[in-house]
Symmetry: C2
Subunit: 184 residues, 2 copies
DNA sequence: ATAAAGTTTCAATAATTTCTGAAAGTTTAA
DNA sequence: TTAAACTTTCAGAAATTATTGAAACTTTAT
């Protein structure tokens, strides 16, 4: 499978960034290639195009499937499996956020919840527990809010994002509503 | 320096998670210990408490300083350097977000901006560029929005977060206000 | 000046993660 | 059934990343 120079650099960049985003170089490259290619691609094609072993592709696909980022399709009369990236870019972002939350935040939240059950004794224990509570509360707030955002329709989300500095205005609207209710 | 069992498990957990959050195990442990400890700690104390080499501590501190997460302080009459975690948990979160944006998002945005300058020729180039544009636009939106959020005061942020699904209601109010303005 | 008390650097080593490729496994068609 | 066409697995090799510890460096006090 031929690949243009521009696509090449996109794919390689995703390979490099991939590791920062939670998967390894070749998984990043595979995903990038699947995203920018219209048609589904066979495992062999991925291997030869990216110059990686067939076994590596197999494992990478498994990983991408566990992230629910890639799908298998079949071409009638062809026994090979074809792969393609699932959904819109927004869908991808949601999946990546959620997956990373599960891997990076949830375990910490659960540990912190446990540690916070005990009553601290000494001064230093009190201090430590307070810091843990701060972290716990912040992580919980972020988690909850992310869940809220994911519930919004793309249009609502778009409106919200486009508000920009308008966020402050929303808040004042909220204030206004609130104080109106108070007085009526 | 003695460390309680609970603190121990917090510190080790941060070590494990550290790598998911962008720094290595020992840097994660060092930071965790600094966060939950009231008093500043010497490099030697970090090394012995965490059972890691003095050299490793030196490099870790350097890393944490580059993240602007720790600070050196001095104790009068003592030549050793003491280290402590900077700021509130909210400050930390802001710093980590910003630092990760710089490392994980900015390079991609800049590459995508470049790739989008060229005009695509073939059908497959058009498709590929459209996907790149989708990703670019999303990353830019997220980046801008994150910057907006960082501008809010802790109180405003808190109000916004607590709104939860209420955001949708506020949005519709905003819509109403907006169309009212349109007609008046 | 110099030595004591500290910190940093970095080459060598250890630990971890990724990748390969051959062998084992699966599915389909005849 | 059997064999062809494909996929998966996994032990070992390669690549990468983290860690040590001894030597070099810096600062301060005398």
């Amino acid at each position: 499978m031929e690949i243009s120079e521009k696509n090449q650099s996109f794919v390689y960049h995703f390979g490099e960034m991939g590791s920062k985003w939670g998967f390894n170089r070749t998984v990043g490259q595979m995903y990038a290639l699947l995203v920018i290619t219209d048609k589904p691609i066979t495992a062999n094609d991925l291997a030869t195009t990216l110059n990686i072993s067939r076994g590596n592709v197999s494992m990478g696909i498994k990983e991408l499937q566990s992230w629910k980022l890639v799908q298998v399709t079949h071409v009638p009369g062809d026994r090979k499996e074809y792969y393609n990236a699932i959904g819109s870019v927004m869908d991808m972002a949601n999946i990546v956020f959620e997956e990373r939350r599960k891997r990076e935040v949830d375990p910490t939240l659960s540990l912190l919840r446990n540690l916070l059950l005990d009553t601290p004794e000494t001064d230093s224990e009190i201090y430590a527990q307070q810091r843990m509570k701060d972290i716990h509360d912040l992580l919980e707030m972020i988690t909850n809010w992310a869940a809220e955002l994911q519930k919004l329709t793309p249009e609502q989300l778009n409106t919200l994002m486009k508000l920009g500095t308008g966020v402050t205005k929303i808040l004042s609207v909220k204030q206004a509503l609130f104080s109106k209710k108070q007085t009526e």
